[in-house]
Subunit: 108 residues, 2 copies
Amino acid sequence: MLKGHLDTIVLAALEAGPAHGYAIIESIKRGSADMFDLPEGTVYPALHRLEEAALLSSSWMTPPGGRRRRMYSLTKAGTAALAERRKVWGRFSHAVNALLTGGRPWPA
Amino acid sequence: MLKGHLDTIVLAALEAGPAHGYAIIESIKRGSADMFDLPEGTVYPALHRLEEAALLSSSWMTPPGGRRRRMYSLTKAGTAALAERRKVWGRFSHAVNALLTGGRPWPA
DNA sequence: TTCCGTACCTAGTATAGCTAGGTATGGAAG
DNA sequence: CTTCCATACCTAGCTATACTAGGTACGGAA
């Protein structure tokens, strides 16, 4: 399980500019040093969810001599949501780190 | 949603020594600066799951002039699992951080 | 005696993410 | 030329997690 932060990651992947689903999967894989090799069955529904929530918008493109792709871009609300989710992630990871390191000096 | 890291957190809470469910909840709340105020309906089933998986063992105790409590402690397997999960968390959070900071200089 | 804090429990629900399937095209390999 | 792989999209259905919303019960204070 990718632990509820999938949406955050997908939004972040689109921050640099519009992309289509397949490319997003690869970009996440690369950007995480292969830690997150997300199945399509995870990412496509997430994209649909995010579009439904108006955080993304999409349009079909057909590059010359290529297959049709659905290009996604962040909406204004999506950009705002990303900023918010980044903060949430910061607080979340900080809290987990605190709990995992107890009060103790420093774990291996 | 506490995002799949609940078990890790609960195991970590027991690292310092045995405790009962209610105390675990409070310890997690304190240790996370109130970020994780977990409902009992989340924690008790998790404790049962972890005991079922033999990562915890429990026994009923009745402190003098007090109510009965179920005390949980880490088993050997539980200690090992915690070490493993700590590593997983490290890799996971590192990867998410990488994705959220893109390649860009540094986010606010 | 009533209520709050401690202390435990579970049935049912929502949903996230995965599995496992499906469709289709372009290009390379044979 | 046909077969296969990589690209590119999709969905139904499963499972597990975490939550909601209830319930029980005791000790002590008001």
